[in-house]
Amino acid sequence: MSWSSTKTNEPRGDPTMATWLGWIVPGAGHLYVGAPILAAVAFMLVMGLFFVGIRLSDGMVFEFLDADLRGPIAGALTPEVGNLAGLVYYMKAYGFGPGFMRSWPEHIHLAGWLMASSGFLNVVFVVHASTLARLPKDVMPRAFAPASQLLAGWLVPGLGHFMQGRRRRAAVVFLMLVGLFVLGTVLAEGSNLDRERHFYYWSGQFMAGAPVMLLEALHGHARVTHDITYADAGLVFGCLAGLLNILCLLDVQAFGLKRVLEEAQREPAPATTTAGAAA
């Protein structure tokens, strides 16, 4: 093996470093692995979603949190923690508000979704940067795998497995997790579909993606006017569906990464291996 081929087969960087950098500042992981355009795209998309959310909510989303649960690390259990720079900025600039109740802006629930989604979107970019760090320069994983599969698996539980060709697993995951979430919503009579009412449980069920978004848009934020017998069970079921989807997403990520690395090893030479879009 010649010196030059050895050099071009070296990985782009340390995946752990790419992960930390990308988590702390959106796009920094891509900058580290030498993909500046993707770094700019990641930064603009993640921070753009976050700041549109802040704008729509007048920075009031975390005022949903009960006063006795507020504290310096209260944001650590929210999806926004995926976008650490955004979360730190938000806590510095807005925190939990002035300390007295104010009326909510019209689109505050949409704003909450945008801010939370920016956190998960950054996780997707971090996974991509970390994958790139393991690959030689000029090698790009096909169709942004496994990050794109992770995003799909969040949007629709099971879709990430489906994209990997694991159809039986995809069907089982979809039926189980969406079924569990719908059952929880029926038991709680929709009272679970509200970040204001259940700040942290909402964070858990957020991880079940589009089905939550859809049901919340159709039914969410309704007033509770009577005792709901199985409200607590429904709340736990909804949250659990989202948390179990994290387990499924870890499976999608590990399987996808393994496949990408195997494909990269099979490729003969870096100069001919640009299989996806160039950074």
Binding site: R166, R169, V173, M176, L177, L180, C248, L250
Partner: protein
């Protein structure tokens, strides 16, 4: 229906979902993962039952109402 029965049914349901997700996470082959589900479920339900018994014993021994 009796409230306890409903709770038990809900528990078995959610236990099944947790166990299947755990089996998928721990085993890349779908067929093999699904074959391990009954045994994993038995362990999970058994473990939870043991935990309930311990909690009940502690409650009856120490709790003051």
């Amino acid at each position: 229906m009796n409230d306890l029965v409903v709770h038990l049914l809900l528990f078995v349901l959610v236990a099944a979902v947790i166990v299947v997700c755990g089996a998928f996470y721990g085993e890349p082959d779908d067929g093999r993962a699904l074959r391990t589900v009954p045994m994993r479920l038995a362990w999970f339900v058994g473990g939870c039952t043991l935990l309930v018994l311990v909690v009940l014993v502690i409650e009856h021994t120490f709790a003051r109402v």
